[in-house]
C-alpha cells in the first residue's frame, strides 16, 4: 500500500479531492473504501505513522505502546483517573484493538430514536457488508484461552448469561498480541483491508499529518495539515493543504471534537460534550492452574447479564490480554506488594466490567476541551450513578472468579481488597469506588460530536452532516449519542458504510 509519510515531505503540499477524510480508523477506513469504489477522488490524512505487519514482529510492549497509541500510551482523562487506550497509527484503533465485533443492540437504536430523534433506517445491509469484508465470525468457545474460560465457567456456574464473541480475523493463530498490532497478518483491521482497497482504487494516503483545522473556502473546504516528526511529534515545518468539496472528520471521539473546536465550529455548543468511555474496572483472580493470559485470543467470551440494570447504570463483562506491562499499569499499589502480585502473573486471570454510560437521565459523560497548545483533553467526572455501578461490578466479578475456582481475588485498589470465599464478599462493601479510588480504563471512546435528529441539539444530523456547515461531516465513534453496551468497532464500521452511500449521493 502506498503511503506518503512525513519524512518524504517538505514545504507545502497542495492537493485537491472530491472528499478529504481526516483519520484512517474504523470510520475513515470504511468510508474511504466505499467512496473510492464508487469512483470518487479521496485524500486521507492520518496523524499517526504507518507501520506494517513486519514492524509488529517483535511483539514487544515497550516498542508497541509508544509507537501505536495516543500520547505514547500515556493518554488519560484530565484528573488522570481514567487511562485512555486509543490507537494512533495508520488504521487507527483498528490496528491495535482486540477484534471484538458486535452489531449495534436494538435497544440502543431505539433509545437513540426516542431520545435523540435519530432514525438510521435499515442497518442490516451495512452490518453484513462489513462483516463480509472484515471476516467477522464467531470465535468458538473451544478455542478460548484460560483467561476467557474463567469468565465462561464463572458465569455458567452462577447461571449468568455468557456467550462466545465474534472477531474480525482471518487465519488467526491465537497469539494473544492483538493489542501490539497483529504480527501475523490475521487481524482484519483497516490496515490490511479497506485502506489497501482504497489506495489501490486511487486514494492518496498521508501519514504523520495532524490536521489543525478546517475552514470554508468559497464553494470548497480547505484542510490544514501539519506534518509531525515521527520521533517527537513536533512540527517539521512541512504542511499539507487539501481543497475538497467535502471534508469528513474521522479522527475519533477525542480527535474530531478537537479539530472542530480549533476550527471554531461548534453547533449548538455541543462539540466535545457528551463523551462516553465505557469506563472499565477490573478484578483479578489467582487460580491453582496456569492461566497464561498473555496467550490466546484476548477476548473470546463476554457476559451481558448486567447490561440492563433498569434505573441503575449497567455493565458488561469481558477479559483483557495479560501481557506484563499492561497488567502492571493497572496495579494501583506500590512497593513490595506489586512484586508479590506480578510474580503470580501466570496464574492470574482478570475480568473487566465496562460501564454503559450515557443512557440514563442526567448522564452527561465527559467533555473534550482544548489545552493552551490546541491539543484536546478529556474531562470525565465520575458521578454517583457510575460509582454505584462500579461497586456492583466489583462484587459481580469477584463472585464470578470464585465460582470459576479462583483461590484468591484481588481488586485494583491501592491496597487491594483480597477475598478467598463468598463469605468475604462483604469486604467489598467497605471499599471506596470511583475516580482515583482504583484503576479505571477506557478502550472505547464515543460521543463528543453527537448525532441528533433535532435541529437545536447535537453536532451532526442522522446523515453525519455537521449542522450549519454544508459539506462538512463527521463519521467516527464521536457521533454516537450514547455509549453502546457492546464493543463499538462494528457499529462505527457499519455507520461509515451507511454514511458512504449518503455522502456519495450528495457529491
Amino acid at each position: 500500500m502506498k503511503v506518503t509519510t512525513g519524512n518524504q515531505l517538505s514545504g507545502r503540499t497542495e492537493l485537491e479531492a472530491d472528499v478529504c477524510i481526516v483519520g484512517s480508523g474504523a470510520g475513515g477506513g470504511v468510508l474511504a473504501w466505499q467512496l473510492t469504489q464508487a469512483g470518487h477522488k479521496v485524500v486521507m490524512l492520518e496523524a499517526g505513522s504507518h507501520h506494517t505487519t513486519q514492524d509488529f514482529a517483535p511483539l514487544d510492549e515497550r516498542l508497541a505502546y509508544p509507537a501505536l497509541y495516543q500520547e505514547r500510551m500515556t493518554r488519560a482523562t484530565k484528573d488522570a483517573a481514567i487511562s485512555v487506550l486509543q490507537g494512533r497509527s495508520v488504521g487507527g484503533t483498528t490496528t491495535v484493538n482486540w477484534t471484538t465485533c458486535f452489531r449495534t443492540p436494538e435497544r440502543i437504536l431505539e433509545h437513540w430514536q426516542q431520545n435523540f430523534g435519530v432514525e438510521l433506517g435499515e442497518m442490516l445491509p451495512h452490518y453484513e457488508a462489513v462483516e463480509q469484508r472484515l471476516g467477522v465470525a464467531e470465535w468458538p468457545v473451544q478455542a478460548a484461552n484460560a483467561n476467557n474460560l474463567t469468565l465462561w465457567k464463572g458465569c455458567k456456574a452462577l447461571g449468568w448469561q455468557v456467550k462466545a464473541l465474534r472477531r474480525n480475523v482471518r487465519g488467526c493463530v491465537s497469539s494473544g498480541y492483538c493489542g501490539l498490532g497483529c504480527a501475523f497478518g490475521a487481524k482484519q483491521g483497516m490496515l490490511l483491508t479497506t485502506l489497501p482497497d482504497a489506495v489501490n482504487a486511487g486514494m492518496e494516503l498521508y501519514a504523520d499529518c495532524r490536521v489543525l483545522k478546517v475552514e470554508r473556502s468559497g464553494e470548497q473546504w480547505e484542510v490544514h495539515g501539519q506534518i509531525q516528526s515521527k520521533k517527537d511529534l513536533s512540527p517539521t515545518g512541512a504542511e499539507v493543504r487539501v481543497r475538497a468539496k467535502r471534508v469528513v472528520l474521522a479522527a475519533g471521539a477525542i480527535g474530531s471534537p478537537g479539530i472542530l473546536l480549533r476550527s471554531e465550529i461548534n453547533p449548538n455548543d455541543a462539540v466535545g460534550k457528551r463523551t462516553f468511555l465505557h469506563p472499565v474496572v477490573a478484578v483479578a483472580g489467582r487460580y491453582a492452574q496456569d492461566i497464561n493470559g498473555w496467550s490466546g485470543a484476548p477476548q473470546a467470551v463476554g457476559s451481558h447479564e448486567f447490561v440492563d440494570r433498569g434505573e441503575q447504570v449497567g455493565f458488561f463483562l469481558e477479559v483483557p490480554p495479560m501481557q506484563p506491562m499492561l497488567v502492571a499499569s493497572g496495579v494501583m499499589g506500590a512497593g513490595a506488594m506489586v512484586n508479590d502480585f506480578m510474580v503470580q502473573l501466570p496464574k492470574l486471570s482478570t475480568h473487566l466490567a465496562l460501564m454503559v454510560d450515557g443512557l440514563h437521565p442526567g448522564a452527561a459523560g465527559g467533555t473534550v476541551e482544548l489545552l493552551g497548545n490546541g491539543r484536546p483533553k478529556l474531562d470525565y467526572p465520575i458521578g454517583p450513578a457510575l460509582v454505584e455501578a462500579m461497586a456492583a461490578a466489583h462484587k459481580a466479578m469477584a463472585r464470578c472468579h470464585l465460582a470459576a475456582g479462583a483461590e484468591q481475588v484481588f481488586t485494583l485498589h491501592p491496597t487491594p481488597v483480597s477475598i478467598q470465599n463468598e463469605d468475604q464478599l462483604d469486604r467489598l462493601d467497605a471499599a471506596a469506588y470511583g475516580a482515583l479510588e482504583h484503576s479505571i480504563f477506557s478502550a472505547h471512546q464515543m460521543g463528543g460530536c453527537g448525532m441528533s435528529g433535532e435541529a437545536k441539539s447535537g453536532v451532526v444530523d442522522a446523515n453525519h452532516r455537521v449542522k450549519g456547515q454544508d459539506g462538512l461531516y463527521v463519521v467516527d465513534g464521536s457521533v454516537l449519542p450514547t455509549s453502546l453496551g457492546v464493543n463499538p468497532s462494528q457499529t462505527i464500521y457499519s455507520l461509515a458504510h451507511r454514511a458512504a452511500g449518503l455522502l456519495a449521493a450528495e457529491l
Partner: protein, 176 residues
C-alpha cells in the same frame, strides 16, 4: 460561584506551585548527577523521579529495583518524544512531591522527598494514594502507573513474572 471539585484541581495546582517554588528554594533536594544527558527533566526533577522510582519499585528478594533498571532515564526519554506540555505536567508533579515546605505543612516532614529514607518515602507515597487532596491522588495515579509499567516491561522483570516472552513470528510477505 460554587467551587467545583474540578476547578479545585486547577486552583490547588496553582497554589501548590507557589508554595513549591518557595519550598524548593529553601530546602534543596538530593541531586543525582546526570552529566547533562537529560532530555526532558531538570537534574533536580530527575533526582526526585529517581527517588520515586525506588519507592514505587524497590526490588528485593532477587527482584531488581526500578533504579537498577534505569526506569527514571527511560521516562525522561519517553517524555522527550511527546509535546513539551506533557513533560511539563510530570515536572510539576515531581515538584509537588519533592517540596519540603508543603511536606512540612501536610506530611510533617520538613525535608525534600529525595532526602528521606526509603521507608519514610514509602509511607508518604502510600498516603498520597488515598489523600483527601484530589491533586495528590491525581499525581499518585499518573506517576505510579508510569513507573510500574516501565519497570515491568523489562525482560529481567517479565522473566521473573513467569512470562516467557512473545511467540516467534514467521516471516510474511508484504502487506497488501
Amino acid at each position: 460561584m460554587a467551587l467545583s471539585r474540578r476547578s479545585f484541581l486547577g486552583l490547588s495546582a496553582a497554589g501548590t506551585l507557589v508554595l513549591g517554588a518557595t519550598g524548593l528554594a529553601l530546602f534543596p533536594g538530593k541531586k543525582v548527577p546526570t552529566d547533562g544527558w537529560l532530555l526532558t527533566f531538570s537534574e533536580s526533577q530527575y533526582s526526585t523521579l529517581v527517588a520515586l522510582v525506588e519507592t514505587v519499585s524497590p526490588g528485593g528478594s532477587g527482584i531488581p529495583s526500578g533504579v537498577d533498571l534505569g526506569v527514571a532515564a527511560e521516562l525522561d526519554t519517553l517524555f522527550s518524544t511527546l509535546p513539551p506540555e506533557n513533560g511539563a505536567e510530570i515536572a510539576l508533579a515531581l515538584g509537588l512531591i519533592e517540596n519540603a515546605l508543603v511536606g512540612a505543612l501536610l506530611d510533617a516532614r520538613p525535608r525534600p522527598f529525595s532526602r528521606l529514607p526509603l521507608e519514610r518515602r514509602a509511607e508518604i507515597w502510600t498516603t498520597w494514594s488515598t489523600s483527601r487532596i484530589p491533586l495528590r491522588r491525581t499525581v499518585y495515579k499518573g506517576l505510579n502507573a508510569l513507573i510500574l509499567a516501565t519497570t515491568w516491561g523489562h525482560p529481567e522483570m517479565t522473566a521473573l513474572a513467569g512470562y516467557p516472552g512473545p511467540p516467534t513470528v514467521p516471516s510474511f510477505g508484504s502487506d497488501p
